[in-house]
Symmetry: C2
Subunit: 193 residues, 2 copies
């Protein structure tokens, strides 16, 4: 918490998003990581793969992050939601413990838990998925940069006050923090021909 | 020429680079396009594929660019060199004619034509490759943003004066123009696991 009270505007953040896929697809899916300096400077792009509706998102993302040449300079992990590759839930508590970094999941629309639960029930290892979802904890909200809409988030290893500051600081080009906006643009763009 | 005398700082530029590959590889290779607003704002990422040492780079890049939702807002095509996927040379004269956009190829190190020629001689359609290389025309030079090193470039459909202005304007984060710096980072990052 104190840690962030003097965070730099050029703080290094990794933003994560998954590629898009057709409904009912199976197999492997790319996940893109982008290292941003504050909301301004894209420094590195990295990629891993996960299984659609699998259980390997957390582990593979941890492994990808640890391989970054600038891993030691990272100060935060920012995700575009926690549901990657369908129901391959990123357990941000585990991600926080393994990476030793604060984790912030940005949510554009508040999730409907009942329909997520129904979807998960159809897959093996329901308990593991549901527990990963619960591990993300309370959904907080803040106001977007243009003061016109809400942004929701979940967070671990950082105070809600500092999380809100980081969201505002990194929303340099839109209402979305740059690390996840750019991870989303890249993941959407490179996954299609 | 007059066209650029009042270009905006948020001019839309597409930057292009190819993914990396192991020497002596064969097959298909990704090419990444990034649409930048000036040197600041990444707007879109797009991807196509070309054949390593093939002859399809120009055509596939033209086709990719024309499919962009913001194609009509583009004002310039910027390439990280013209040799994509080994000796699959981008004919920037054709690219200019088909896209109706000025084309600027940024070169970090001056090419050694004799060794390129030797490499091309080993492949079919030498004439077509060599002509595409010659079509890029004279190599110009300018000074990097930090005034410490030279940047070389080839250009079609834009004056050398305006090309130099664009290079300086878009070199917001390093000595390389952002559209090609970011295309390079993404192409290198997403092509490896």
């Amino acid at each position: 918490m104190k840690f962030y009270s003097q965070f730099k505007t050029e703080i290094r953040i990794i933003g994560l998003d998954d590629m898009s896929f057709q409904p009912k697809s199976q197999g492997r899916l790319g996940v893109i990581g982008v290292v941003f300096r504050g909301g301004y400077w894209l420094e590195t792009v990295i990629r891993t793969e996960i299984t659609i509706d699998g259980l390997d998102a957390t582990e593979n993302i941890c492994s990808m992050i640890s391989k970054l040449p600038n891993f030691r300079q990272l100060r935060l992990v920012m995700l575009n939601g926690i549901m990657f590759g369908g129901f391959n839930v990123v357990n941000i508590k585990q991600l926080h413990i393994i990476s030793k970094l604060p984790v912030l999941s940005i949510i554009r629309k508040k999730p409907v838990f009942s329909s997520i639960r129904t979807g998960m029930k159809k897959l093996p290892s329901f308990e593991e998925r549901w527990n990963a979802l619960l591990a993300a904890g309370k959904i907080f909200e803040t106001i977007s940069r243009d003061n016109r809409s809400k942004i929701f988030f979940q967070k671990i290893g950082i105070s809600d006050y500092d999380a809100k500051k980081i969201i505002r600081l990194t929303s340099t080009r839109s209402n979305m923090p740059e690390p996840v906006r750019i991870a989303h643009i890249i993941a959407s763009g490179v996954g299609s021909i």
